[in-house]
């Protein structure tokens, strides 16, 4: 029989918690991104690995530095910086100069996340802001897509790029399987739709992403591009092509579902996903850029606090109305 000598802990109810924690969620997302990491190295070589490592290290280091300056507890190891680093790397061309990767990471972590207050306080998706910053600042380097499986470093336009500049006829030889498996030009992680779907399935099973957001997002883009394809197939590419090329898959499953920057309640999530899909379609078909996913998500991120407020207001009104 043991004698009780250590003081008892007094905490407030409840005294048990689920196994989930922020670290667990973040590292599960990392595991879900492993298929995409593998395909990126497979198609683009070891340059992809170096971009990935540099991105992750720079993101974690940036958060570490800010933690130290703020004299607060270290949050850099909770996994969110690692996820930002991986997502940023998967969104840039494999041949991007490493100093640009570092710059993008610093912008993503310090400006988008830490300056707003750290994890949970940022309005915009950090990886996307980093990517868009690089795109606008270094447009040439950011659109030099390496050709997959090439021995030498050759770059060519991505399928969406070809579509924008040369029209539907030029993409006729890009088959469905090439698009699905990823044997096309594009950023490191967006090419292989299969890898992304495997990762997303893991997260959906665990309940870490709200599945309705990517499904509505992709569905809307599919429908929007589909309508125009039906109107004029010679000017607009098929919706399946739009689905599998560009950053739509990775954007819908990993960026739009980021908990901090997406709405918390159902109605907000539906509006968010639908608008993202619509904006992506509009930018792709009628805008100046060949790819619209990043911009669409960032624009909708800005509306998320408003959507949450509206849902909060409606919920309060509905409760008061119960008699």
């Amino acid at each position: 029989m043991e004698a009780q000598t250590r003081p008892l802990i007094v905490s407030y109810a409840p005294h048990i918690r689920t196994g989930d924690s922020i670290e667990k969620i973040m590292y599960t997302v990392v595991v879900a991104l492993v298929p995409s990491i593998i395909t990126s190295i497979y198609y683009f070589g070891l340059r992809a690995l170096s971009v990935l490592l540099v991105a992750v290290l720079s993101c974690v280091a940036s958060e570490f530095i800010v933690n130290k300056i703020r004299k607060k507890e270290l949050t850099c190891f909770n996994g969110s910086s690692v996820v930002t680093g991986i997502l940023l790397a998967l969104n840039v061309p494999a041949g991007l100069p490493l100093w640009m990767v570092v710059l993008g990471s610093v912008v993503a972590v310090i400006i988008t996340k830490e300056l707003f207050g750290g994890i949970g306080f940022n309005i915009f998706n950090p990886a996307l802001v980093g990517r868009v910053f690089l795109l606008i600042s270094f447009p040439v380097a950011m659109t030099a897509w390496p050709v997959p499986n090439a021995v030498d470093v050759i770059t060519a336009a991505s399928p969406l790029g070809i579509l924008k500049t040369e029209g539907v006829a030029a993409i006729a030889d890009i088959t469905f399987w090439k698009l699905f498996l990823g044997e096309i030009g594009g950023s490191m992680g967006e090419t292989s739709a299969l890898a992304i779907l495997i990762g997303a399935a893991l997260l959906a099973v665990r309940g870490y992403i709200f599945v309705k957001i990517p499904l509505i997002f992709i569905g809307t883009t599919f429908a929007f591009t589909g309508i125009f394809y039906l109107i004029d197939p010679s000017q607009y590419a098929s919706p399946v092509f739009h689905l599998l090329s560009g950053g739509l898959m990775i954007g819908a499953f990993f960026m739009a579902t980021d908990m901090v920057t997406s709405p918390m309640m159902v109605r907000g999530q539906i509006i968010f996903a639908f608008s993202c899909g619509l904006l992506t379609g509009i930018i792709r078909l009628f805008g100046g850029y060949p790819e619209g996913v990043s911009f669409a998500i960032l624009i909708m991120n800005a509306f998320v606090p408003l959507l949450d407020r509206w849902d909060l207001y409606s919920m309060t009104k509905r409760r008061e109305a119960i008699k």
Partner: protein
């Protein structure tokens, strides 16, 4: 399978005492009877130091309308009126300390059979009040007040709460299996206080199939309906139970009698039977001693006022050093700072655990995952309450929403950022009360 519409979680059940038959704990030498074992004003002592008392004798009188009497759990001598006894609520409380003489001599007229069928409604309520019966599920609301709602509230549904949704706790379950007749007779007594056509439900969670079977068998021929309920926390909360069984929803600020319902805990009904049929005041109760660190987990029938150290000794002591002692269940129970705490009318369980996670639990920023909103059975927004409470802006929280929170703990259970949501909500409520008064 009936259940409530909104929210809810399913924590690991850990009902390790489910098959342990109720054992009677021998009355200890010293009993610390707290004067506040119920909601409302504490009872006022009517005995003095060195006075001799008999078992079941009233030793403290109810103070006011919402209050209850307190009785001596055994015969003996009053050795002290302690002003600073530790209590399960956490605060220092007034208590009457009795040294047992081992005779267990009942006071006159108590522990005798009564022909209760011929009693009037007021007489029955009077017996319930005399026995000092309160809601034994944890709230401690005086039963005679609850059973006598305002005249304009018509009660058409009576619900017996057999859900016992908290992990680890099994006293109600064992009572259902071992003493179903007494419980049904108690239910009859309560039902007789209202109109004849009152509908009576016995709600039991479906993880207790034996209890459902036994109660269904014994209630054949009675108008009582046994309803299996889906195992979901907080099924045992009265608002959720009413919703599951009748489909009615309580709106902001409403109480069960506003929708014609009355909910009672099993132990309370058992105590009501003993009070009306046998003239026995509330001086003992069944509780579960559970947790991974206790040598022998048991269900005990213990005398009120027994200190937890005595109970732990009876159950073989501790296997290893614990870091938490919880009175109640792990979801809504209170953690204690000493083992010298006595048990009261509302103590349904004692948990002795070594919660490794607590040593390293740190609150992090809200990541807006929305899980707390999904699981809240009342449809509230816990993340927003915490946000405003931390910034001391509690006056911006709609008061009716804050009061609707019953602190069930579902939100805190699922939060991945480990935020102490319920504590902040309680803090916000207290802050608002301070601001007003």
């Amino acid at each position: 399978m009936r259940t409530f519409k909104r929210g809810g979680i399913h924590p690991p059940e850990n009902k390790i005492t489910a098959d342990a038959q109720i054992e009677t704990l021998p009355t200890p030498d010293v009993l610390t009877v707290l004067l506040s074992q119920h909601l409302g004003k504490p009872a006022k002592p009517i005995v003095k130091k060195t006075e001799l008392v008999k078992k079941g004798q009233r030793i403290a009188e109810a103070d006011g309308f919402i209050s209850a009497h307190v009785h001596a759990p055994t015969s003996g001598k009053v050795t002290a009126i302690d002003q600073r006894s530790p209590s399960p609520g956490g605060q220092y409380s007034q208590a009457i300390v009795i040294e047992a003489d081992g005779q267990e001599e009942w006071a006159d007229g108590l522990n005798a059979d009564v022909d209760y069928a011929s009693l009037s409604r007021d007489e029955k309520l009077g017996k319930i009040q005399d026995a000092g019966i309160v809601g034994m599920g944890g709230a401690g609301f005086p039963a005679h007040v609850k059973l006598n709602p305002p005249k304009d509230k018509k009660i058409d549904t009576l619900i017996l709460n057999g859900a016992e949704c908290e992990p680890f706790l099994t006293p109600d379950y064992r009572l259902l299996i071992e003493e179903p007749e007494k419980i049904l007779k108690g239910l009859e007594i309560v039902a007789s206080l209202f109109d004849e056509d009152i509908k009576v439900y016995i709600g039991i969670e479906q993880n207790k199939p034996q209890a459902i079977r036994i109660m269904t068998e014994h209630s054949k021929g009675t108008p009582f309906e046994v309803v299996p309920l889906k195992t979901k926390y907080p099924q045992g909360s009265e608002k959720q139970l009413i919703n599951s069984l009748t489909g009615r929803t309580l709106s902001v600020g409403q109480l069960p009698f506003d929708v014609g319902c009355l909910v009672h805990n099993i132990a309370t009904i058992y105590a009501i039977y003993e009070a009306v049929a046998k003239n026995k005041p509330l001086i003992e109760r069944v509780l579960s001693v559970s947790g991974m660190s206790i040598q022998n987990a048991k269900n005990l029938r213990a005398t009120l006022g027994t200190r937890i150290t005595d109970i732990v000794d009876y159950c073989g002591g501790l296997k290893d050093e614990i870091n938490q002692l919880i009175v109640g269940g792990p979801m809504m129970g209170k953690s204690q700072y000493t083992l010298e705490v006595p048990i009261t009318k509302t103590t349904s369980g004692i948990l002795l655990i070594n919660n490794k996670e607590l040593d390293s639990l740190r609150e992090m920023a809200c990541i807006r995952c929305g899980k707390c909103i999904d699981v809240c059975p009342q449809g509230l927004q816990p993340w927003r309450f915490v946000d405003l409470a931390q910034n001391r802006r509690t006056d911006e929280i709609p008061v009716n929403m804050l009061n609707d929170c019953m602190e069930c703990g579902s939100c805190t259970f699922v939060c991945p950022a480990r935020r102490d949501i319920v504590h902040w909500i309680k803090y916000a409520k207290a802050m608002n009360a301070r601001r007003k008064g």
